[in-house]
């Protein structure tokens, strides 16, 4: 099984790098780098304010927009692009377990989107913390941000992969969830927040209260970081397992 996953991962990572979709998303993910450069020029002196600006970009752009778009597209296409493109027979008539195909492709696409996100995150972060480049703390914070985004990527991709295996209109449902439910949920009272992925991601991030966009944060009752990480991993494993199950049970009939 492990060998299958490694081979499928290698093939689809290579394939993903080549696809036109990847180029479009790479441009999309480079936007914060461009903004970071602009900020560097505009805020020459006041470096403290820069941190809060970075916090805003990170929060609004990465969390609420970029990783959702990336995972939505890559996650749902793990299964549906093989069916829609009718390339599934090439895989299912090879000595590959169905579960192996799903996990391999999931890993390949998560790695691909993670690569794009980290490049953009690291570039914009380093540009912005220009005079603190020497201190170890900056790199510590960068790793933490990267870790949170990775967890987010894995959880969302697993969820959307699961949706892709049995829903015909998985993109629309994913869109409704990613932009509708995930953003609306923060304004709901009590523990309803627990039912969104973004809540756990936010509770892992350092809590900025005075940020310009603090309205997105003020209703957050963060769960403890350890619990948040476990929940995110559970979400990933759970949805991935369900996706493998659905994919191996379902018989895909392309109307010939």
């Amino acid at each position: 099984m492990l060998k299958t996953i490694r081979e499928v991962f290698a093939f689809f990572f290579f394939l993903g790098k080549r696809s036109r979709k990847m180029k479009v998303f790479f441009l999309l993910s480079l936007l914060p780098v461009a903004l970071a450069v602009l900020v560097r020029i505009a805020f020459a002196g006041r470096s403290s304010e820069v941190m809060s600006v970075f916090q805003e970009i990170l929060m609004v752009y990465f969390l609420q927009f970029l990783i959702i778009i990336l995972t939505l597209f890559y996650g749902t296409s793990v299964c549906s692009e093989e069916i829609e493109g009718k390339t599934l027979p090439y895989l299912t008539t090879r000595p590959l377990t169905k579960g192996g195909i799903i996990i391999g492709k999931f890993a390949a696409y998560t790695a691909l989107s993670a690569l794009m996100v980290f490049v953009s995150l690291a570039a914009s972060y380093l540009i912005m913390s220009f005079e603190k480049l020497g201190e170890a703390a900056t790199y510590g914070a960068l790793l933490r941000y990267a870790g949170v985004l990775l967890l987010g990527l894995m959880a969302y991709t697993a969820l959307f992969t699961f949706l892709g295996t049995f829903l015909k209109k998985s993109i629309l449902v994913g869109l409704a969830f990613g932009f509708g439910w995930e953003t609306a949920i923060q304004y709901f009272p009590g523990s309803t927040q627990r039912f969104s992925i973004v809540h756990y991601l936010k509770s892992l991030l350092p809590y900025y209260s005075e940020g310009k966009f603090s309205i997105l944060m003020f209703r957050l009752e963060p769960t403890s970081p350890a619990v948040a990480v476990i929940v995110l991993l559970l979400i990933t494993a759970g949805f991935l397992g369900l996706a493998c199950l659905f994919f191996s049970l379902k018989e895909y009939m392309f109307e010939d």
Binding site: L35, L38, A42, V53, E56, V60, F65, L175
Partner: protein, 290 residues
């Protein structure tokens, strides 16, 4: 005398006519296809909500005394003047509903033809690219005008009817051309915008997301850049801001964004020019038969 109808292929005795509007069938079919989409009728009716609300506003403005108790703030909703029309034409909900209509009616206009190679069928007929684009664009004209020009004129006429005099016409003679001008601007822009995105990919789902995301994304970018740079020119990024600014200029109201109004027109027409060029290059006769 008896005859048996000849079996097999029969000729058609009519004569082919040189049609004055060769692109009209394309538009009619495009509109039919849009209405056959699931939930479309629901969305289409919901998008008339603002028009109804403003119509009620006009009714109240005539019956001020009966509704005294109701009005606290919202002065401009009641005074019927160009500001009233500007508010209708540039309110967020209307613009958003227009984008939703584009998604339903416009996303597949060219994308579906590319996906199902229907271009070969079109261009093996005596129509050329100009007719094809005009036919497709007219589908969007129909839907966007239905949300801009039609309600605009209805509101204008109802005001005259309710008030029983031509005060509105005499005091603001340029208001009618302004309504028509603004509707035309929006219609032409959205036509180019949608056709450009629809021609970019074979996959209708991808175009749907593009139409939706670019409109919202342009606003998000404005939000972020404004947060950083505080300079008003940054509003040029957002499509919505450009519409509101252009609307304010056309209706002679205070400009919502502190940059010269003509810039918005430049941005909008610039996008139209770019999409015209891309459309011309992308739909070429030669790759019709590969």
């Amino acid at each position: 005398m008896a005859t048996i109808r000849e079996k097999g292929y029969s000729h058609w005795d009519g004569a082919l006519v040189e049609r004055k509007l060769p692109w009209w069938p394309i538009t009619r079919t495009g509109i039919q296809l849009a209405f056959r989409r699931k939930h479309f009728k629901f969305f289409f009716s919901v998008s008339f909500l603002p028009a109804v609300v403003f119509l009620v506003g006009i009714y109240i403005s005539e019956r001020i005394e009966d509704f005294k108790f109701m009005i606290q703030g919202s002065e401009n909703l009641i005074k019927i003047n160009p500001a009233f029309f500007k508010t209708y034409f540039t309110n967020d909900f209307l613009l958003f509903m227009m984008v939703m209509l584009l998604v339903f009616s416009g996303a597949g206009l060219i994308a579906d033809d590319l996906k199902h190679n229907a271009l070969q069928l079109y261009f093996s007929r005596p129509i050329d690219k100009k007719d094809y684009f005009l036919g497709k664009a007219a589908v969007i004209f129909f839907f966007i005008l239905a949300l801009t020009l039609v309600p605009g004129l209805v509101l204008f006429v109802m005001k005259l009817v309710f008030s029983g005099n031509f005060k509105l016409l005499t005091s603001y003679p340029w208001l009618l051309p302004a309504i028509i001008g603004y509707s035309a601007l929006l219609t032409v822009f959205f036509a180019f915008y949608t056709l450009l995105l629809s021609a970019l990919s074979k996959n209708r789902r991808y175009v749907t997301i593009l139409i939706f995301a670019i409109y919202i994304f342009s606003d998000v970018v404005y939000g972020i850049t404004f947060g950083i740079f505080r300079s008003p020119y940054v509003a040029l990024f957002s499509l919505k801001a450009n519409f509101q600014q252009a609307g304010a200029v056309i209706f002679g109201q205070r400009l919502p964004y502190a940059y010269p109004g003509y810039l918005s027109f430049l941005v909008l027409f610039g996008i139209c020019a770019v999409s015209a060029a891309v459309l011309h290059r992308r739909i070429r006769g030669v790759e019709v038969i590969k």
